[in-house]
């Protein structure tokens, strides 16, 4: 990318953002007509009813609230009310645990399956059936059998993020170019050595692509899981604020979920670039 292109892209991005914020502001500023009511009655009602204020917050409301959260991200008012920083840390820790467990299982298993055409054909239908199951569908089953909600949340992340990694590992290992394996064979390289020095480097980009898809899924799952299980985490924060019909806080949470998801994806993208090789 040439510098001028980068600059132009940045300008277009900023213009788009400004346009979006502007439309948002205009759309939520308008007030609906309100019925006249006695002051005594009005005192008991919310702003939507008394002033016809839009139920949707504008960008300024969200900005002000966001600043409030940034000023004290780590407060702790008891088990049901913690700062956004703490909530995000809980979510990231859960995602990290579930995801690492998935990596530890998926990659060795994928290797074994990929090296054996028989196994890879035999297990394929199971993987295909298990892959599209939603995290919310796993949750009741996990809660019922594991009998611990925080372990259940981690299990759900594990079970949802394992499939793309497994499939990509299998695919990567199975599609290593035959010539390279044959060369290794001619040189009488042992199976273990062949796996680590020939197949692993050759399959690494595909495996990492699978890992990158998986981290995205893990982050998608955590919000749903925490909304259900509750207690801590960014998903719980969304649920708790929804409970209070505080759309402002829900929008802030959406924004933060997006940013953290992007960062996680970027980290994996960097790793992928490190192992990519030109053919």
């Amino acid at each position: 990318m040439t510098p001028s292109l980068r600059l132009r892209a940045a300008i277009v991005s900023i213009v788009l953002l400004a346009a979006f914020l502007g439309i948002w502001h205009l759309a939520t500023r308008s007030t609906a007509p309100v019925a006249t009511m006695s002051p005594e009655y009005a005192k008991l009602m919310g702003l939507t009813a008394t002033q016809g204020k839009s139920a949707m917050p504008g960008p300024l409301d969200v900005g002000a609230k966001l600043w409030e959260h940034f000023k004290r991200p780590f407060y702790d008012n008891g088990p049901n009310d913690k700062g956004l920083g703490i909530q995000l840390a809980y979510s990231i820790a859960r995602v990290g645990t579930g995801y690492l467990l998935a990596v530890l299982v998926a990659i060795p298993l994928g290797f074994l399956i990929g090296m054996s055409p028989l196994l890879s054909k035999a297990l394929d239908p199971f993987i295909q059936v298990l892959k599209p199951i939603s995290p919310l569908a796993w949750m009741p089953l996990a809660l019922y059998t594991i009998k611990d909600s925080s372990v259940s949340a981690i299990f759900v992340i594990f079970i949802c993020s394992i499939w793309p990694m497994l499939l990509n590992t299998v695919f990567g290992v199975a599609s290593v170019r035959k010539e390279w394996i044959n060369v290794a064979r001619t040189l009488e390289v042992g199976t273990v050595r062949r796996a680590f020095t020939v197949i692993l480097p050759a399959a690494a980009p595909t495996i990492l692509t699978g890992m990158r898809i998986s981290i995205g899924i893990a982050w998608l799952v955590i919000v749903a899981a925490e909304m259900l299980v509750g207690g801590t985490g960014i998903g719980y924060f969304v649920w708790n604020e929804w409970n209070n019909l505080s759309i402002t806080n829900v929008i802030i949470a959406i924004l933060l979920i997006g940013i953290v998801g992007m960062l996680l994806d970027q980290i994996l993208a960097r790793f992928t670039r490190m192992v990519t090789f030109p053919e």
């Binding site: 019925a35 919310g46 088990p79 809660l143 019922y144 009998k147 909600s149 509750g230 708790n240 409970n243």
Partner: protein, 458 residues
């Protein structure tokens, strides 16, 4: 003389006595057996027990005690002894039953005003007062709170009044014996309709509408069905009933996905506060004094930690008694409104708890009993719920109404605790009441079920 007698009576012997402890000898007891009256209150009796113990320690020789009392008089002696030995404190310590086996407890709740006693007991110190360190944990929905309590993540929890019965019977879950030591609140629900239906106040015009209820095993479900059926609508065929978690009800009403709901409060008032609905009817007008939510624990917890359970029940009963007083309601609304607890505007909670509320149609109404608090777990409530479970086909086959009610609703134990706390529990755990003018006799549940024209045919 024994533990329950007056140690400041010079004419009494502290060492020997009769079986009941109120006579000097066994023979005297025999003669007076019929006149033997109980001590006025448990507290008085404890005071006697403690004082006896103190006097016995001070005067190992009974003759010396009598001589001392004769020379100074009983009241002076009592005052003198109280001077250097705090009889009151000693009595209080004695009255506390064994110390709790487990002090750090977790109690789950759903953020609605029904949970008021459970929630307020944390910030207002009722748990601490009874020697417990309780963490109240907000939970996402009724099914989750059920699973977490069954999984022992929670020691006890806030449940809809029929839930412990359903769990004990194995409806919608594995059968696990649960028990209810206290009712959280009575009344405190309402039927809210979307503002566009403000001219459709007659339930006969409600054919085809969609209503939300919080859970299948809820008083809300049974009351809404009862109300609709009394107006000639079959709730299974004429309207749609959907199980929707309370917080989602307001959003769904705004989005026009439902036409109304019978929900627990602060949700009803919240819909009005946000200008999306109006209060059609308070549940109080269907059945004044109906139970709504309960405080529940598994039998396993009760047997493994009986003292913790007793202390927990005492804290809840104590908090409920405090909440039942109208003058405390404003203070409670402020205590439970923060994000850590219910997470709702204080105005909304105040309107629910004080009973002076906006009805959503431009009027301000007052009903001090809109929500009320009375912990006693009437077994007749449980019998009524069972009749409705039967009526709507949740229970198939025969039910032993009384046995289930007595197993789940711990009226006797709670009655005992309430007496110990100086409260007056009712004499019988069964009472008759009227639902929309129709009297319910807990002794004849089967006849009651059969008397309804609209019910699920089994």
């Amino acid at each position: 003389m024994s533990t329950f007698d007056d140690p400041f009576d010079a004419d009494r012997n502290l060492r020997s006595g009769c079986v009941c402890g109120r006579h000097r000898s066994a023979s005297e007891h025999e003669q007076a057996a019929l006149r033997c009256e109980p001590v006025e209150s448990v507290e008085k009796r404890y005071e006697g027990v403690v004082a006896s113990a103190v006097m016995r320690t001070m005067f190992p020789q009974d003759a010396a005690r009598r001589a001392f009392l004769k020379s100074v008089g009983a009241s002076t002696a009592l005052a003198a002894v109280s001077q250097f030995f705090p009889l009151k404190t000693a009595t209080e310590v004695f009255a506390e039953t064994g110390s709790p086996e487990k002090k750090d407890l977790k109690v789950g709740f759903i953020p609605i005003t029904c949970a008021t006693p459970i929630i307020m007991a944390a910030p207002m110190g009722f748990y601490a007062k009874h020697g417990l360190n309780v963490e109240v944990v907000k939970t996402a929905g009724w099914a989750v709170i059920r699973d977490k309590t069954i999984n022992k993540e929670y020691d006890a929890a806030h449940m809809l009044a029929p839930m412990p019965i359903a769990i004990s019977l194995g409806l919608g879950a594995n059968a696990i014996p649960f028990a209810v030591p206290a009712i959280e609140n009575i009344n405190g629900q309402g039927i809210v309709l979307a503002t566009k239906h403000k001219d459709k106040r007659d339930p006969k015009d409600w054919k085809g509408l969609k209503f939300a209820i919080p859970f299948d095993y809820s008083m809300h479900n049974y009351l809404l069905r009862y109300y609709l059926a009394e107006h000639g609508l079959d709730p299974d065929t004429d309207v749609q009933l959907r199980s929707v978690p309370p917080p989602e009800m307001v959003a769904n009403l705004r989005a026009d996905n439902i036409d109304g709901f019978l929900a627990p409060d602060n949700i009803c008032q919240r819909a009005i506060y946000d200008g999306v609905g109006f209060m059609h009817l308070l549940s109080k007008e269907i059945w004044d004094g109906h139970p709504c939510c309960s405080f529940a624990a598994s039998r396993e917890f009760i047997t493994s930690a009986p003292n913790s359970f007793a202390a927990l029940t005492r804290a809840i009963v104590d908090a409920t008694a405090y909440a039942s007083k109208a003058e405390n309601r404003k203070q409670i609304a402020e205590a439970i409104a923060p994000a850590n607890y219910i997470n709702a505007p204080v105005t909304v909670l105040e309107q629910v708890l004080t009973g002076t509320y906006a009805d959503g149609l431009g009027g301000v109404k007052t009903d001090a009993k809109r929500v009320d608090f009375d912990p006693f777990p009437w077994q007749s409530f449980a019998v009524w719920m069972l009749t409705q479970m039967k009526r709507w086909g949740q229970i198939k086959g025969e039910v032993d109404y009384k046995a289930v009610a007595e197993q789940v609703y711990l009226a006797t134990d709670t009655g005992k605790l309430m007496t110990e706390m100086g409260l007056a529990p009712p004499a019988s755990p069964y009472k008759s009441f009227a639902v929309m003018g129709k009297t319910f006799d807990p002794a004849k549940p089967d006849e009651y079920v059969a008397s309804f024209k609209i019910r699920k045919q089994s």
